[in-house]
């Protein structure tokens, strides 16, 4: 099925972003235009998701070059679900930026850069070509470098140097892996690669190459190799942190799922075992980090790490239930992490410090903020009926069925650590003596809670509306576990 509409989630943000560069001085206009364009992208993603259910996997061959010769976009339920979620989250983060960020940030190309980031993210989800995946990653990363440095505090510059260097090295590994893959099987079209790897039965050489890919995407996703993450996610302005927390690591996770379910799934006793061990270590490291710090932004950043470990447990087990659970949790986590960062950022703006010691009794003056945080906490801990619940249940059930009790124990323990780390923030910052009196309290900027409330509703909605999402998620998991569906859709039926 050819379909030109597939390119819009990537093309529209780029075109609008380029146009906005010329409207630099009009901060509010830029905000509204970018919100509108992301809303349109959201609508189109809904349409695509619906269309996939009736027509099967969609694809767009650029320039009419039939696969495996051209570059193409492939939309299956998994990719489009993520495009949809990331578009919604970006829209909401942009509206938070409209309300809360400073004038300087708004006129220093903030909105165009966010749109380029969104284009890179959507492109990475949709592309069906490994080299194109690299290019989309770089589009996304370059935008993230710019966003990380916008705001110009000393801490940001310092963290940006580390972040950019580590990403240059990981992109280098990506190119090395691509070179070896091309050298050994002579193609970079994902479906074609998958077919040829399957024909060869995944020789040891290919497994080695898959490990290089694993290193690359682990660096991007923060799976075990997350040492760069807390510093760079806790230094930029809060909207940027929210976007990073919600989108960037998730693209790495998406790539890991795609690589190890579509292409390198013939030697699970090697690759999936390594992924399982890495996920376990990530859960341990993230949990320790989340309770070790007093800076609430750092705690939020470590919560991102825990979620990465948790989702990858699903990939390591790789049964249908585990895959569904991982997809649910991935969607939930994009929403909940954006929400967590936005709330934490609002708290920091109100109290002027990011230390827990400097905040107390916020609940009395800002009850709505407090209860939003409470719901976020429950959602991240996996309490029903919120969105985190279904993912945790499915992954845990799958872990029991496949006998991975070690992973099960760590996954459940990590939930307790998540709850503890956030409960600590809740207890210290919202309960306790109110240090600022009602008269002196800095006013909450008008409307600043609307985007947060939208995300709260979304997390409740996903939790309650799981039934409605189920067919899409089941379809996504089925395509992931049966790569031949994807390959047939791209290369045509093989007789």
């Amino acid at each position: 099925m050819m379909n030109n509409i597939l390119v819009i989630p990537m093309l529209l943000p780029i075109i609008v972003g380029v146009l906005l560069i010329f409207l630099r001085t009009y901060g509010r206009l830029q905000a509204w235009v970018s919100i509108a364009s992301m809303a349109v992208t959201t609508g189109i993603s809904f349409y695509l998701l619906y269309k996939i259910q009736t027509d099967g996997i969609l694809r767009l061959d650029f320039g009419g070059w039939e696969p495996p010769f051209g570059i193409l976009f492939v939309a299956d339920s998994f990719a489009v679900l993520l495009v949809l979620t990331s578009s919604i989250v970006t829209t909401i983060c942009l509206s938070y930026a409209l309300i809360s960020t400073s004038k300087e940030l708004q006129t220093m190309y903030f909105y165009p850069t966010v749109l380029f980031l969104a284009a890179g993210v959507n492109g990475s989800f949709l592309t069906g070509d490994l080299f194109n995946l690299f290019v989309c990653f770089e589009v996304m990363l370059l935008s993230s470098y710019v966003l990380l440095t916008l705001g110009n505090s000393k801490r940001q510059l310092r963290e940006a140097i580390k972040y950019v260097s580590i990403n240059i090295v990981s992109s280098w590994f990506f190119l090395v892996a691509l070179a070896y893959l091309y050298g050994s099987i002579g193609t970079l079209n994902m479906a074609h690669v998958a077919e040829r790897v399957a024909e060869s039965g995944q020789t040891p050489l290919l497994t080695t190459i898959s490990i290089v890919f694993l290193v690359v995407f682990s660096l991007k996703a923060g799976l075990l190799l997350y040492f760069w993450l807390p510093g760079s996610y806790s230094s930029p302005p809060i909207v940027t942190s929210a976007l990073f927390g919600a989108l960037l690591t998730k693209v790495g996770i998406y790539a890991l799922f795609r690589m190890f379910s579509l292409i390198f799934h013939h030697q699970p006793e090697i690759t999936h075992t390594i992924i399982g061990i890495m996920a376990a270590l990530t859960l341990i490291g993230g949990s320790l980090g989340a309770i070790a710090f007093n800076d609430i932004r750092t705690i939020a950043a470590y919560n991102v790490v825990i979620a990465v470990g948790f989702i990858l447990v699903g990939l390591a087990i790789a049964t249908p239930a585990a895959m569904e659970g991982a997809i649910y949790y991935l969607i939930h986590d994009m929403v909940a992490k954006a929400l967590l960062f936005l709330l934490v950022g609002t708290m920091i703006t109100l109290s002027g410090t990011s230390k827990m010691a400097g905040m107390s009794g916020l609940m009395k003056n800002y009850p709505l903020l407090g209860w939003s945080f409470f719901i976020t906490m429950l959602s991240l801990a996996g309490i029903p009926p919120l969105s985190g619940f279904i993912g945790k249940v499915l992954i845990s059930a799958a872990a029991i069925d496949s006998g991975s009790y070690g992973l099960l124990a760590l996954a459940l323990l990590s939930s307790i650590f998540v709850l503890y780390s956030l409960l600590r923030i809740f207890k210290n910052c919202f309960w306790g003596e109110t240090i600022v009196s009602k008269e002196e309290q800095p006013p909450l900027r008008k409307g600043v809670l609307w985007p947060c409330l939208a995300l709260v509703l979304l997390t409740i909605g996903i939790g309650l509306g799981t039934e409605g999402m189920a067919p899409y998620v089941t379809d996504a998991a089925e395509t992931l576990l049966n790569p031949e569906i994807y390959i047939d859709a791209v290369l045509g039926k093989i007789q």
């Binding site: 770089e138 370059l142 000393k154 801490r155 510059l157 950019v164 090295v169 691509l178 070896y180």
Partner: protein
């Protein structure tokens, strides 16, 4: 020919890793630039060197070279060019603000 190029890639990577591991920001940036050259050579040699003539229709030749690696490298060069330009500006700005180009002095955070 391929073996020679692969050895060259190895040498370049060694040099680059030595530079990246130093504490001076400018050396690190030079290191990343050399890293990207190394991987471009690697991609080039993966396509096979000197196997045929230019891949133009109408050239009457027995075999053509694989044109895809060149296309990949061209894209990768453009990207690494942009990234290097960005990190150079970033390093300069960081030097102005932090008054150091020593990575060892950039560790930790303000408040610890």
């Amino acid at each position: 020919m391929e073996s020679l190029i692969i050895i060259l890639v190895g040498v370049l990577t060694t040099v680059a890793i030595y530079l990246v591991l130093s504490k001076n920001v400018v050396r690190v940036i030079l290191g990343t630039a050399i890293l990207s050259h190394a991987v471009h050579l690697l991609i080039l040699s993966m396509g096979g060197l000197k196997l045929g003539t230019v891949p133009l229709l109408g050239e009457e030749a027995g075999s053509y070279v694989d044109a895809l690696p060149q296309a990949l490298i061209l894209t990768a060069i453009v990207i690494s060019f942009a990234v290097t330009a960005f990190i150079l500006v970033l390093a300069y700005r960081a030097y102005q603000e932090l008054e150091t180009d020593n990575l060892g002095a950039m560790r930790g955070s303000d408040d610890e």
